[in-house]
Each structure stands twice: as structure tokens, then as C-alpha cells.
């Protein structure tokens, strides 16, 4: 049995090694991906294109506008003169944010009456809009406090005005809240899944497509031996990929690695059960490599979207939240991120590991069963 598996392994490695394109795809796209995502995926919004519609034009409004102009989060690009001008800018996506100060702003302020500032947001990107509105809120709160202070002065009350409750934020594990630290480990998980799943699916389907499968089936190779011989090489190659992209994360992006490599190894192994299992399952259902590619993308895209890497799972409707429990990538991303940033080990991450081993074993058994049936 082990001799037969050994011969399949040798054959697979020779085939991978001899395939120039495959060699390229194993090295270049993963590197490009981690570099591109490391730079491009960035939820820290800066330089929001802003327009100011100042109908009042007083010293007070100038002070308020200055607050927008003097920080890096906003870039004041336009001063609006008319309603129509405003509409135009928004329609052409020239600005994301319009701050409209009404004509009676200063008057109300001086009289001590409540006054309003209108904030118009282009919310076609709702996530970005949320972030921007939070920034605006901060600026207006500061400004309001300042006004309060001045008002108190005017009433003759001296002294500092302190808010009764102040928030003191400590961002653990990622003190500067760098998106990159969160996403680069996530990308490692994505790259591993892509490589292992596709390689496995294609390697089996290719045999069926070129007709060698029939020859394999008449040899004494048993289904389990074939499946092991077909998956072990890609598990080994996938580990190579993890090492490669992890090195980029550590050396190029300088993401801290606070956990142990053993945890990462065990987590990766558990995860590979899943991606290789899905790859095999796809291969049993596809008769051509194109079909396998299609099926692969149908699995990969939702797996990434529902992994919690891009969109928080807690924001999803309950049904999808439950669905994510079946998504191995969900667990693996937690394992990778927490190993990198939190430095926790198996003591904390065992539920994720267990889930991945459980799901992965199920997946492998399912595909083995389906595979057996095709022999009969």
C-alpha cells in the first residue's frame, strides 16, 4: 500500500515540477496577491473629497471650515455657491462629503439658539460613508464643546469644562489600528486555500480528462491510495506556500508574529484537510478542468466573503451567521490572525482547530465515498 502511494507521490511531484506554467502559478500570483492586498486593502480612510457650502460666511463659519481643512482626513476640494452646484458635484462623484452651513448659523450661535450643520454623504459605498460620518462627528463634537466653553465665558463662568465621561481607548494587539496587520494574515489564509483547493481538484480531473484515470483504475491502486497519493503532494506544496507568504508578511510588511510556528503549522494542517477535501469533492463532480475551475470559484468567492475577513460576521443576518460555522476559512483566519497578532496558542484556539479537523474529515470522507462509487 505505502509503496503504491509512494509511486503516485513521485509521479505527482515530477509532473508539478515539469509543468512550467504551474511552477509560475505557484510562486508569482501568491506573491502578487499578498503584495497587492497588503497595500490595497485599506479601510483607513483619508483625504475624503469634501465640498463646503457656506451660506453664512462669518468668522464662526471660517473657524469651523478651518477644522475640516486642517486635518488629513478631509480634503476640501470645492466651495459651493449654489444648490445646483452641490447636486452636480455629488452626481459626478467629485466629492464624498458636503458640509452645508446655513445662513443663520452665526446668528443662532450668538443668540444662544440651537443651530444645525447639514452633512450630505455619498453613501453609495456605505462602509466608507459610516467611517466618514464618524470623523465628521468628532470634528463637530470638538467644535460644539469649544462653543460651549466660549458661551460659558461670556456668561462669566471661568474654568475648564470637562465632559462627565471621557472615553479612553486602548487598541490592543494593533495599537495604531493598521488595517494591514489585520489583512495580511488573512491573505495568507486565502492564498493557501486557493492553491491547495485548485491544485487538488485539477490534478484529479486532469487524469480523467486525458484518459489516464481509466488506466489507473485497472491497476491494483485502491481508491484510498489514489486519494492519498493525489492529496499529500499538494498538502506539502501548500505548506511551502504558507512559508513563502508568511516570510513576505514578516519581512516586507513587518507584521508582528507573536505566536508560535507550531500553532500555525497545526492550524494550517487542519485547514488543508478542508481545502483539499473540497478540491477532491469538486473533482468527483467535474469531468473537465474548466468545470472544476468554475466549481472552484463558486466555492471560493462565498468562502472568502463569509469568512469574516472582509465583512464582520456579527453584521450578517442570523442565517448567514450560522452558515459561516460551516466555512473552514472562518476558523483558519481567526487562527492565523490570532497567531500573528495575539500570540495565543492551542489553549485558546482549540475550538477553531477542532472545528477545522471535524469539517475537514467529513469533507474527505464524503469525497472518498463519492469517488468509490465511480469505480463500480
Amino acid at each position: 500500500m505505502f509503496r503504491r502511494i509512494y509511486h503516485i507521490l513521485i509521479k505527482e511531484f515530477i509532473q508539478v515540477w515539469r509543468d512550467k506554467k504551474l511552477r509560475f502559478f505557484l510562486i508569482v500570483p501568491p506573491l502578487v496577491q499578498i503584495l497587492a492586498y497588503g497595500y490595497a486593502i485599506n479601510f483607513d480612510i483619508k483625504h475624503v473629497a469634501t465640498a463646503i457650502f457656506d451660506e453664512d460666511r462669518t468668522e464662526d463659519t471660517r473657524d469651523l471650515i478651518y477644522r475640516f481643512r486642517s486635518n488629513q482626513y478631509f480634503k476640501v476640494k470645492h466651495y459651493i455657491e449654489s444648490e445646483r452646484h452641490l447636486r452636480d458635484l455629488i452626481d459626478h462623484s467629485e466629492v464624498t462629503l458636503v458640509v452645508r452651513i446655513p445662513w443663520d448659523f452665526s446668528k443662532n450661535l450668538r443668540w444662544g439658539d440651537p443651530t444645525k450643520v447639514q452633512i450630505i454623504l455619498d453613501s453609495s459605498d456605505s462602509n466608507a460613508a459610516m467611517v466618514v460620518s464618524r470623523y465628521v462627528n468628532t470634528i463637530l463634537t470638538d467644535y460644539t464643546q469649544e462653543m460651549f466653553k466660549q458661551r460659558l465665558w461670556r456668561f462669566g463662568l471661568r474654568g475648564e469644562l470637562a465632559a462627565p465621561v471621557d472615553m479612553e481607548v486602548r487598541a490592543w494587539f494593533n495599537p495604531n489600528l493598521m488595517s494591514r496587520w489585520t489583512y495580511v494574515p488573512g491573505v495568507i489564509a486565502m492564498v493557501v486555500m486557493l492553491v491547495s483547493l485548485m491544485l487538488t481538484a485539477l490534478a484529479v480531473v486532469r487524469e480523467r480528462e486525458i484518459g489516464t484515470m481509466e488506466q489507473i483504475l485497472v491497476t491494483p491502486i485502491r481508491p484510498m491510495e489514489f486519494l492519498l497519493g493525489k492529496t499529500i503532494p499538494f498538502v506539502i506544496i501548500s505548506f511551502g506556500e504558507v512559508v513563502m507568504v508568511t516570510l513576505v508578511a514578516l519581512l516586507w510588511f513587518e507584521v508582528p508574529f507573536r505566536g508560535s510556528f507550531l500553532t500555525l503549522f497545526v492550524g494550517t494542517l487542519a485547514f488543508l484537510f478542508n481545502s483539499v477535501g473540497v478540491g477532491l469533492l469538486i473533482s468527483t463532480a467535474s469531468s473537465t478542468q474548466q468545470q472544476a475551475m468554475m466549481a472552484g470559484s463558486f466555492f471560493l468567492t462565498p468562502a472568502i466573503m463569509l469568512s469574516g475577513l472582509v465583512f464582520p460576521i456579527n453584521n450578517m443576518p442570523p442565517f448567514f451567521q450560522y452558515l459561516t460555522y460551516l466555512n473552514p476559512l472562518r476558523y483558519f483566519i481567526i487562527v492565523v490572525q490570532d497567531t500573528f497578532l495575539k500570540g495565543v496558542g492551542l489553549k485558546v484556539l482549540w475550538p477553531q482547530m477542532a472545528a477545522m479537523f471535524g469539517l475537514g474529515t467529513t469533507m474527505l470522507i464524503l469525497s472518498a465515498l463519492r469517488f468509490k462509487r465511480r469505480l463500480a
Partner: protein, 311 residues
Amino acid sequence: MEADKAIVVQNLTKVFGKFKAVDGISFEVHRGEIFGFLGPNGAGKSTTIRMLNGLLLPTSGEGTVAGYDIIRQQDRIKQHLGYMSQRFSLYGDLTVAENLSFFGGVYGLSAAKVKERSQEVLSLVGLLDRQKELTGLLPLGLKQRLALASAILHEPPILFLDEATSGVDPISRRTFWDMIYHMAEQGVTILVTTHYMDEAEFCDRLVLISQGRLIAEGTPRELKAAVPEQIIAVYPDRLDDALEVIKKLPDIAEAAVFGTGLHVATLKADQTEAALREALGAQQIAIKSMGRVPPSLEDAFISLTTRAGRS
């Protein structure tokens, strides 16, 4: 099981949905025999072979290959079987030597044994000097020879060749058959499926298969002798027109193009010859030559299948 029977099959049937691909076939193959499966495409030849080598499970019926049950002992059969299919099925991205060492390895040959056997089979098929070449780059004829080498690497006592020479040029086919003879002489039992009549002539014994049923069995000579009609070979100058005319004549069992002439099968040879001359003459079709010939295997095949179709 009797010791001299390499393959015994009884009432083998395979149904795909509503389609009966193989319908109650029974036959026996003796040890060391070249046994042919002759029939048109889709007759059920490959399906039968695939039930014998474990690729398909029979719907009903039973059989043994090398003494092992085809339903319960597939794993044992595989070890004793060499199989070469109509599709080229070695790895194009491996070299000749790598392919052999893979297939030898999975049949349980030791590295030393693989090396020794590789030399033997490669010299048999004349590929000794191409071991380092990528298999995918070999011409088709050589690929087929390599496939044969790979199929006999583990010294199987039984060899299945499923349309093994399809698409191969006549000279390569001839060389290929020389190798088959050589193996049969060494006691290997060979089961061949083909739709080439000339290849069928090379077989010790044949079965004719049509629409999933076995319609005749015997040596090529017996099958030809079983044709009840006499065959008249006609060489007219307008072949297609002549065929039209002849088909309308009475007492014609079958008329078909054969090379540059026509073969006309009839039970009443004398009357038919006279009728032929008259009918073709009436249409101003000249007859270059005409005479009776012994039935070829193709005549036998056509006659026997038509008769099976009628009954």
C-alpha cells in the same frame, strides 16, 4: 474452474438506464489464445471488456478472469491483467522510463525488477533508445507500442487490447501484431477488440457482436464457412449505379462495396449471375470482371449480422 480456461463468461449483461449495452453474452477463452471481439462501434465490445477488468459492474451474469470472480475478486484480477485502451493513457509529461517505473511500481515490482523488465519490454517494442524522451512527444505509433510495453511490464498472464490499434498507420499495426503473436507464443492469453477485419483474421478464435448480443463464435475459417450464401464479386465501371441496380434484383441476400468492386451474396448463384449481366447491360453498365469468391470475414460478418437482425 478448468485449468485451461483463462476467461469464462456466462450471461453477462450490462444495462445503462434503458439501454442494454451488453445482452446476455457467454463465451470462453483458452489459455494462450488470441481471442477476438469483432463488431461495429457501439456493439458492446468495450463495455464487455470493462466488466471483465473491473471498471464496470455487470448488471447480471457472472464470469471469471484468470480464475478470479469478476464481481467479488476484482483486486486479484487487476494484478493478473494487462490493459491497453483505445485512448492513449500514459502520462505525456513523464518520460518513457518514468512512465514504466510508475506503472511497474504500482503493480508492486521492486525498483530493480522494474529496471530489468523495462529493458526487456522496451527492446521488445523497439524503444530502448528513447527512454529519456517525453512520452507526449512520441509519434502515435510509438506511443501505442509504449502503452503495450507498459501493459505487459508486470508479466500479466492475460492481456486486454481494447481497439489498441485505432488510428495507427498500417505498418505500425503490422509491427504491433507481430509483438502480439510473440506474446501469445509465450503463453499470454490475449483478448482483442477490433473493427478491423484484417486484424480479426489474425485471431485464433472470434466472437461477432452486434447490438450487445453475441451472434457467432468460431475460428475465422469456421465463421467464413458458416456463410450459407455464395459470394459473387462484380467489378462494374459505374460502381454506385451498379449497386443501385443490383440491390433491386430478386434473390440477393446482401450487396456491398468491397474494394473497387461489389460483393453480392446470394443463395442462387447461377440465376443471380445471369440476372446481373442482364440488369447491368440494360443500364449500359459494363462489367469488367465477374466471378465467385470464397467469403471473406467481412462477408461473413455482414451475412451473419443481417441474419441475426432478421431473426
